[in-house]
């Protein structure tokens, strides 16, 4: 029985931790420096005891997936506009796992090391999936970046939620079963939906939900339906090199003089403090 999806998740988790975290730290900082900081301060939405809430830069404290959605949507729209004016490649989809991971890390009170590693894994997943889906999806008028953004958001959140590889595979299965993938869709909305669904999927798995066990390789799965199963081998080569990260690093415009670990990996401040700008 094929276990490509589980194997992918395991392989990603086996990547060198330092490099993954370094990449994640770089991207978290880049994305959030572009997105801005929370100006709402203590404005809080009512939440029941035990509910997971996170910071929406415009609305204050909201349910965790709403924070990811709203922040990702605003960011994506900003980036789309700037891309339209200067012609640069916008990191709209690649940022989705960062927004998903940040919201969930904040809600779960995870530390920066956890967030950076999760974001790094998300970007690693994104670059591999987007690259291997690009050819096949283009032929079928789907956008492989949107599919990759959804699955990468799930990977990042699965790491924070400490899902087992089997649970992660089912979360990926559930997510891919309803992934929005149409080319010509409104990309910011698709990217924001990807960020939100990354969180929704792993929370559903926390509640013992089920999904297709091997969505990447199965019949009617991601490659079969949206792309081309012939491209699966390009995904299976998950090596120990964090090579793809460099591409993303460049597309975000992160320069070498801005060290990846600009925010210390073992920062004593919380993610919430970081977002609200009170970390100094």
């Amino acid at each position: 029985m094929s276990r490509l999806t589980q194997d992918l998740y395991r392989s990603l988790c086996a990547l060198p931790a330092g490099e993954v975290s370094s990449l994640g730290a770089c991207l978290v900082r880049e994305v959030w420096s572009r997105a801005g900081k929370d100006t709402t301060r203590e404005r809080a939405a009512p939440a029941s005891a035990g509910q997971l809430v996170a910071t929406d830069l415009a609305a204050g404290r909201v349910p965790v997936e709403t924070a990811a959605f709203n922040n990702a949507l605003r960011f994506a729209e900003q980036q789309s506009k700037s891309a339209a004016s200067d012609g640069a490649v916008e990191p709209v989809c690649a940022a989705a796992p960062v927004f998903a991971a940040t919201a969930l890390a904040e809600a779960r009170k995870a530390d920066f090391a956890m967030l950076f590693h999760a974001a790094g894994l998300g970007i690693e997943a994104y670059t591999r999936l987007a690259a291997s889906l690009a050819r096949g999806t283009r032929h079928k008028a789907f956008d492989g970046r949107v599919i990759a953004a959804t699955l990468a958001s799930i990977v990042a959140c699965a790491y924070i939620e400490k899902l087992t590889p089997e649970q992660a595979a089912q979360a990926l299965g559930l997510g891919s079963s309803a992934v929005t993938a149409m080319a010509q869709g409104y990309l910011p909305l698709q990217a924001a939906t990807a960020a939100r669904d990354g969180i929704v999927m792993v929370l559903l798995m926390r509640c013992d939900f089920r999904g297709p066990p091997d969505p990447l390789a199965c019949r009617w799965g991601v490659y079969d339906v949206f792309g081309d199963v012939a491209d699966i081998p390009t995904l299976e080569v998950v090596t120990a090199a964090v090579r793809a990260g460099e591409t993303v690093r460049r597309s975000f415009g992160a320069s070498p003089d801005r060290p990846a670990a600009h925010v210390p990996l073992q920062s004593p401040v919380s993610v919430a403090q970081f977002l609200t700008g009170r970390a100094g």
Partner: protein, 454 residues
């Protein structure tokens, strides 16, 4: 002619509909759909998926005025649409639009309930919204060709349902025709749903897909309501939908616009009485008829042959998804005499019934296929261990448009589903309210949104 012109015509038409000018048959159709689907949603309250969604809502749900039947929580409209949408298809008892193969109600009624509750809608508002949503989603599917969508590996219910849900939500938000159109086009970018759901045995994925389509339709309409503008190229969107979901086939304008204004899609709808894929219905009906003359069960049955029109047999072959596995369904019907939704949950394993399944053969019958879709024929031939043989053919299974469920049967279905959840008195009150000339959605959900002990 631009490729988007037929869809624009459809959307303009749908937006122009008013409740007062709908023919009585369309008004009645919408009422029946709402009644039946609400019963199915409430009836799923104790399903494992509903319990798990309630746990999820306890973790993360925005506060709001809309009722989720999962845990009877008050949440925002998009979340209510998601969770009620996910359970609306879970029992496999929701409606089926005949020609498009859409379980349209599973996506659209949850959207209607959520936004209707949020906006204080009346029954007339909701019925109009549903008629509009059915026109948009079902005719869009016909434009794309449901067979091409399905054989491309997609779930037509959710691929096109999201656009219908956006139409329903936009209607209830009373968006003007221009913004109604924009909401539908924005929702097209959120089309989703692949048949990988058939590789998961317990139906979580297929159910979940309906919830996501309902949610995304509501979100698209909310965004347009809140000031977003769809400024994309409509023709490019339609072309991408054709390329992606219909394998690059040309748009079937005639199929989608046929009898516009004369035929109402909400009327062309069948109701489901067994908790499994409707392609298995003729076989279940045939077995029930045989049982009226012979006491057939899993112990005395030597062999059972199932001849089914080929299109149906493909859909209900040996899939992991047990509601869509004819041999599993028929084996459970033989073993237990009745078919319960519980048979498709984790409480039952396929290997336990495998010895019975091994005595059943499913045949994709090309001769019967020649009669489809005018008929949906299935033949069950049972050979008993004592050598006796019984055979029965059904052409029009119960609940379909050609052999419709009687109103009393739908009332019984509603009562059987709803009473255990909300109690006898509230179930009767709910049925009474839904039969009233007019009602408010909030009043309906005030009754439906409380458990039996409340």
């Amino acid at each position: 002619m631009k490729v988007s012109q037929p869809l624009d015509q459809l959307l303009e038409y749908a937006a122009s509909l008013t409740y007062g000018r709908l023919p009585a048959v369309a008004q009645d159709g919408a009422r029946k759909i709402f009644f039946d689907t609400l019963g199915v949603i409430v009836g799923a309250h104790r399903q494992p998926i509903a319990v798990k969604l309630a746990e999820y809502l306890a973790l993360s749900a925005e506060a709001g005025d809309c009722t989720s039947i999962c845990g009877f929580r008050k949440v925002g409209s998009a979340t209510a649409a998601f969770t009620n949408g996910a359970i609306s298809h879970d029992l496999e008892l929701d409606d089926l639009h005949q020609t498009s193969s859409l379980h349209a109600a599973a996506v659209m009624v949850p959207a209607a309930i959520a936004v209707g509750e949020e906006t204080g809608a009346s029954s007339e508002d909701v019925f109009l919204a549903l008629v509009r949503g059915y026109e948009v989603a079902c005719r869009l599917t016909l434009m794309l060709d449901p067979e091409k969508v399905y054989f491309g590996g997609f779930h037509p219910t959710t691929v096109c349902g999201v656009v219908g849900a956006a139409a329903v939500a936009a209607s209830l938000m009373k968006l003007d025709p221009s913004r109604f159109r924009q909401a539908c086009y924005l929702a097209m970018g959120l089309m989703s749903g692949i048949m990988a759901c058939k590789t998961e045995p317990d139906h979580y994925t297929k159910s979940y897909q309906c919830g996501i389509a309902a949610r995304n339709g509501v979100v698209a309409a909310q965004m347009i309501r809140d000031g977003y503008t769809f400024s994309g190229d409509a023709a490019a969107v339609v072309q991408a939908a054709l390329q992606g979901y219909a394998g690059g086939a040309p748009l079937r304008a005639d199929a989608g616009l046929g009898e516009l204004g004369r035929r109402f899609e909400i009327v062309d709808t069948g109701y489901k009485l067994y908790p499994c894929c409707r392609h298995i219905y003729p076989l279940l009906d045939a077995l029930a008829t045989i049982r009226k003359t012979a006491p057939v069960d899993s112990r005395n049955c030597e062999h059972m042959k199932l001849n089914l029109y080929a299109r149906g047999a493909i859909n209900v072959g040996d899939h992991s998804l047990r509601t869509h596995n004819a041999r599993y369904v028929m084996a459970m019907a033989l073993e237990h005499g009745v078919l319960k939704r519980d048979f498709f949950t984790e409480a039952y394993g396929i290997e336990d019934i495998r010895p019975v399944m091994n005595r059943i053969d499913l045949i994709a019958d090309e001769a019967l296929q020649a009669e489809w879709p005018a008929k949906a024929p299935g033949v069950v031939t049972v050979t008993l261990r004592d050598g006796r043989k019984f055979s029965e053919r059904v052409d029009h299974p119960k609940g379909g448009v050609e052999n419709p469920a009687r109103l009393e049967e739908l009332r019984d279905k509603f009562s059987v589903l709803v009473t255990p959840v909300v109690g006898e008195a509230r179930a009767a009150a709910l049925a009474g309210l839904l039969a009233a000339p007019t009602f408010a959605v909030r009043d309906v959900m005030r009754i439906a949104g409380q458990g039996v002990s409340a």
